[in-house]
Amino acid sequence: SQTIHQWPATLVQPVGSPLSLECTVEGTSNPNLYWYRQAAGRGLQLLFYSIGIGQISSEVPQNLSASRPQDRQFILSSKKLLLSDSGFYLCAWRTADRKNIGAFFGQGTRLTVV
């Protein structure tokens, strides 16, 4: 069966520090991968999605970037965090073969920038 791993679960970082969040998927190949951010009590904002290695679509211009160095690995990064980067970051995967199923989420990372 497929599983998605996302870590760390919580993170407190000072303003101006770098960020690296990693997400890996097991049990499937060539998945679509997604990074979302959720502010407290709000909806999910699509940040990046990827349909293949090295293929990244950016949805929101900001100081974040994403990379997909391997088929089942998706990394969210920042060189310098801002206070506004605080939030709940969620990684998700979805089968690329267009079967009748949706996206499956990791447990998320709660990031607080102080």
Partner: protein, 110 residues
């Protein structure tokens, strides 16, 4: 760009009452998905609708996809306390891009 809206933002119901949330997209969707997020948790996929006018049921939950593939609804019959959470619709003009609506937060008063 594409926008997905949901109403209402919040809904408080007495246990046993019905609940409906509505989803509207500014563009035609290739499919619509519904998710449930419990407080403190991550979204969990419930169902996907693909065909125009499609209706699907999961026990007390009924999902509809509009004829124009721009709107959808989720109806819960006889709510229970286990239904508490935020319900999101999501979709996109293409299969690969999945945009979420802002969600409807449901609270159930026992």
């Amino acid at each position: 760009g594409q926008q997905v809206m949901q109403i209402p933002q919040y809904q408080h119901v007495q246990e046993g009452e019905d609940f409906t949330t509505y989803c509207n997209s500014s563009t035609t969707l290739s499919n619509i998905q519904w998710y449930k997020q419990r407080p403190g948790g991550h979204p969990v996929f419930l169902i996907q609708l693909v065909k125009s006018g499609e209706v699907k049921k999961q026990k007390r939950l009924t999902f509809q996809f509009g004829e124009a593939k721009k709107n959808s609804s989720l109806h819960i019959t006889a709510t229970q306390t286990t239904d508490v959470g935020t319900y999101f619709c999501a979709g996109g003009a293409s299969y690969d891009k999945v945009i979420f609506g802002p969600g409807t937060s449901l609270s159930v008063i026992p």
